[in-house]
């Protein structure tokens, strides 16, 4: 009987270009949009220099900026008024101002300062630019001491080494997170719509007046949409590793295994939505609210959960995307094994089973 239900559902899906479009094309479009558009990487920062010293020493400092690879000098300025203008017009995001007696003080071994003015209108990048600038100046200072043959006695240098994503590329971080988002966004909505569509068209009454049991009907819906979700997953995995060249550290079977559990959970959310809505319109909106939106906002996909207010952190536990987001990044970037995220995996299983049972109980073979 389940076989008949699955066969019917599969035929309907294969003949409906809209379903296939939503299931396959939309996630790919989103993957490319996010892969390219959401980038917190900062390079080629436009820079202006107001060098009042014009000495060999100041030229060395400026070279250190250019040499870092993060900065491109767009303007050389002659007056403080010009500093205001380039920042106002947005022609430079950072201005380096070297004081007139910079080389004299440096050569005397006296303490001196350079001024760095940063366009802070977008705080996230401003912070990064500021850090870059500080590290460039640090390196210049170390280099200066080196040239003089003076070891920097009693100073502590930080030797940062970034693990898991050494180039700190956003895309390496975005794509594994997108996994959690896309599998949360589309499969449940499609599942919910497919059941509610039967309510709207009246075909569900035929199911009511038949020996088909509620769990059989629901399983008949879950299987085809889980298969679709599985395809989505393989597609995203392939594009992520082959096109965006994201280093995949972990085990593929492990990721696929956990993803299946996750997909069953998300599809069960769709099922649940379908049992409490009557029209496709309602089903679509409710799905958006309980799946798409929280998967973006509260999964840690873009906004780290650790920095959220405590109450919101508790709220994120309601959505399974949060558990899977952690797992996905663990496997992708850290390459760790099951023992590291068994807790999250168990939570997912409990979550999915509870929803499936709730949906089966809520699904009554009655018209009202």
């Amino acid at each position: 009987m389940i076989y008949q239900l699955v066969k019917k559902e599969t035929r309907e899906i294969l003949r409906d270009p809209v379903i296939l479009g939503v299931a396959i094309v939309l996630p790919v479009i989103m993957l490319f949009l996010f892969g390219y558009a959401i980038s917190l990487d900062v390079d080629d920062v436009s820079m202006a220099v107001y060098d009042q010293d014009r000495s060999q020493e100041s030229a060395r400092l400026i070279d250190a900026f250019v040499g870092s690879g993060y900065f491109t000098i767009e303007h050389y300025l002659d007056s403080p008024g010009q500093v205001d203008r380039v920042l106002d017009k947005g022609e430079a995001s950072i201005v380096l101002a070297v004081p007139p007696d910079f080389s004299r003080d440096v050569n005397l071994g006296k303490r001196t300062e350079v001024q760095v003015i940063i366009d802070g209108s977008f705080s996230a990048t401003a912070l990064i630019v500021s850090n870059y600038a500080a590290s460039v100046v640090n390196r210049y200072t170390e280099d200066l001491l080196d040239r003089r043959g003076e070891a920097a006695a009693g100073t502590i240098g930080i030797n940062p080494r970034v693990w898991y994503n050494p180039p700190l590329k956003s895309v390496n971080y975005i794509v594994p997170g997108l996994f959690a988002v896309l599998l949360m966004a589309f499969p449940p909505m499609l599942t919910a719509l497919s059941i509610v569509r039967e309510k709207e068209r009246g075909t569900i009454e035929q199911i009511y007046v038949s020996p088909v049991s509620p769990p059989a009907f629901i399983v008949g819906k879950v299987i085809p949409y889980s298969v679709i979700a599985f395809f989505e997953m393989v597609l995203i995995l392939a594009i992520g590793t082959l096109w965006f060249r994201i280093p995949f550290k972990g085990s593929v079977p492990l990721l696929i295994g956990i993803s299946l559990i996750y997909v069953l959970t998300t599809v069960s959310i769709g099922l649940f939505v379908s049992t409490i809505t009557r029209t496709q319109f309602q089903a679509m909106f409710l799905s958006l609210i309980v799946t798409l939106m929280p998967s973006f906002l509260f999964s840690g996909f873009l906004f780290p959960i650790a920095t959220m207010p405590y109450m919101l952190q508790l709220y994120t536990y309601v959505f399974p995307a949060r558990y899977f987001n952690d797992i996905s990044r663990d496997i992708f970037l850290k390459g760790v094994g099951l023992e590291y995220f068994i807790g999250n995996a168990v939570l997912l299983i409990i979550y999915g089973s509870a929803l499936f049972i709730a949906a089966s109980l809520k699904f009554k073979k009655k018209v009202a």
Partner: protein, 494 residues
């Protein structure tokens, strides 16, 4: 009758939806092998009763026993033994004829050999054999109903429940469907069927007449009297809402339609190809034909909703080949699907459509009173449209399409799904409207309604096979029933 001989035994059944009672204290017994009809006006509780019998709706109070099982505790037993055809098309549109049969056979757990045998029988019987690979949403309405019935006969249920199975299908398909039902019934199977056709009601062994959720009468059709429709009309104490609402007289030439060839093609398919027709002001012109014969397409071309491919058509003085949009202010259009806004009140709907037609506030107030009077809704201005019955809603829709006093009114299956008594009242209005000089174009599947037309055209595959007044057509075919004329013409079609 012994309980063992009963297919259905209902005792004290009541069902409430929110505040309204859909069924009140029904006692009913249906014997095994009966052909049992359910009739009653719109909103009288026919569907609720059938859903209760099918165990997909629990009673608020009372009990329903189907083949000895209680509809609440034994719902599973009931649903696996019966067949139910709801009013909505209950097929999967993207699946082919064969796949639909396969699915419905499959969920009933029919073995492969039995399936093949029954499939062949049913296809033969329903005349769907040559459409095996066609998707069911590409079948005509009549064929879809026959397929839906076949899907329900796959497992040969002892009890078959059908909710207005012939609604909106042409007379020929209707005749086929009833042949299938009669045949199944003659094999000793019980059939419960609701209908708004009185000729179908007469073919049932016994009839239950529902009114406002109560069982008013239950007997053999003969016991009700000769003219069933008359009998029911007299029982339904409707408010005398058919008033002689004054209609403004139209100038003589206003509603003139002249067709000198009308051709509409979709891709390579010719949907309509008409020769010369002239329709005078004040005529009631009927378009009859099977599903898919081009009635709706013709109406849409005449309304300027579809552009004609070829030909010369003049509607109310507007050249439809050149400037079809000019006709809009001169015509009114109402279809079966004509959707009032169900979540607006009666007054809000009228005002909305009035403003769409650009009526001034003063004129709108006057016309609003006129529409309320026409639809018998004076005093109910602030009721939600969704809470009105189908028949009342349809009269309100008619009123809204007449707000701007059009010269020509187009009605596409305006009475589909409306009970006979309300249908009769609806036609009363149409006649008054025509008498005042408004031209009316109307399509319908209720052939008996076409008696009201001054002339009818019988369409088949986009062409007119016969065109004359109902009286002349009947004389030509030597019969006193327009339905027989229809069947003869269609069966004689190439």
């Amino acid at each position: 009758m012994l309980p063992g001989d009963l297919a259905v035994k209902i005792k004290g059944l009541s069902r409430r939806f929110k505040r309204a009672w859909a069924l009140r204290d029904i006692d009913l017994e249906v014997g095994k092998g009966e052909m049992f009809g359910i009739v009653g006006p719109d909103g009288s509780g026919k569907t609720t009763l059938m859903q209760s019998i099918c165990a997909i709706l629990d009673p608020t109070s009372g009990t329903v026993l189907v083949q000895g099982f209680d509809s609440v505790s034994g719902a599973k037993e009931i649903t696996s033994r019966i067949g139910y055809m709801s009013q909505a098309f209950s097929l999967y549109g993207d699946l082919t004829v064969e796949e639909n049969l396969e699915f419905f056979g499959g969920i009933r757990g029919i073995s492969a050999e039995v399936f093949e045998k029954r499939k062949d029988e049913l296809l033969e019987f329903s005349g769907l054999k040559s459409f095996l690979k066609r998707r069911s949403n590409q079948l005509s309405g009549g064929m879809q109903k026959k397929l839906a019935l076949s899907c329900n006969l796959m497992h040969e249920p002892d009890l078959l429940v059908l909710d207005e199975p012939t609604l909106g299908i042409d007379p020929l398909s209707r005749r086929h469907l009833w042949r299938m039902l009669k045949d199944y019934n003659s094999r000793g199977k019980t059939i419960i069927v609701s209908t708004s056709y009185m000729d179908e009601a007469k073919r049932c062994g016994r009839l239950a007449f529902l009114l406002n959720g109560e069982l008013v009468a239950c007997d053999r059709p003969e016991a009700f009297g000769e003219d069933l429709e008359e009998v029911f009309a007299s029982r339904i104490k409707k408010a005398d809402w058919v008033r002689t609402v004054p209609f403004d007289r139209k100038p003589a030439e206003a509603g003139f339609v002249r067709i000198k060839g009308l051709k509409k093609t979709f891709g390579g398919f010719t949907a309509v190809d008409l020769q010369e027709i002239t329709v005078e002001s004040g005529e009631i012109f009927g378009l009859l034909g099977p599903n898919g014969s081009g009635k709706t397409t013709t109406i849409k071309v005449l309304c300027g909703l579809l552009r004609l491919t070829e030909g010369e058509v003049e509607v109310a003085g507007v050249d439809m080949a050149k400037r079809p949009e000019m006709v809009r202010g001169r015509i009114g259009y109402m279809s079966q699907r004509f959707s009032l806004y169900l979540d607006l009140t009666v007054k809000e709907n009228i005002d909305f459509f009035g403003r769409v037609y650009g009526l001034s506030p003063g004129l709108l107030g006057e016309r609003r009173r006129w529409v309320l009077d026409l639809s018998g809704l004076t005093g109910f201005e602030n009721s939600l449209t969704g809470e009105l019955s189908g028949a009342v809603r349809q009269r309100l829709a008619l009123g809204c399409s007449l707000l701007h006093h059009p010269d020509i009114l187009f009605l596409d299956e305006p009475t589909s799904g409306i009970d006979p008594v309300s249908r009769r009242a609806f036609w009363e209005i149409i006649r008054l409207l025509a008498a005042s000089g408004t031209t009316v174009f109307v399509t319908t599947h209720y052939i008996s309604e076409a008696e009201n037309c001054s002339r009818v055209a019988l369409l088949h595959q986009g062409r007119i096979l016969a065109l004359d007044s109902p009286g002349a057509l009947k004389a030509r075919y030597g019969t006193d029933s327009l339905e027989d004329v229809f069947i003869s013409v269609m069966e004689g079609a190439p």
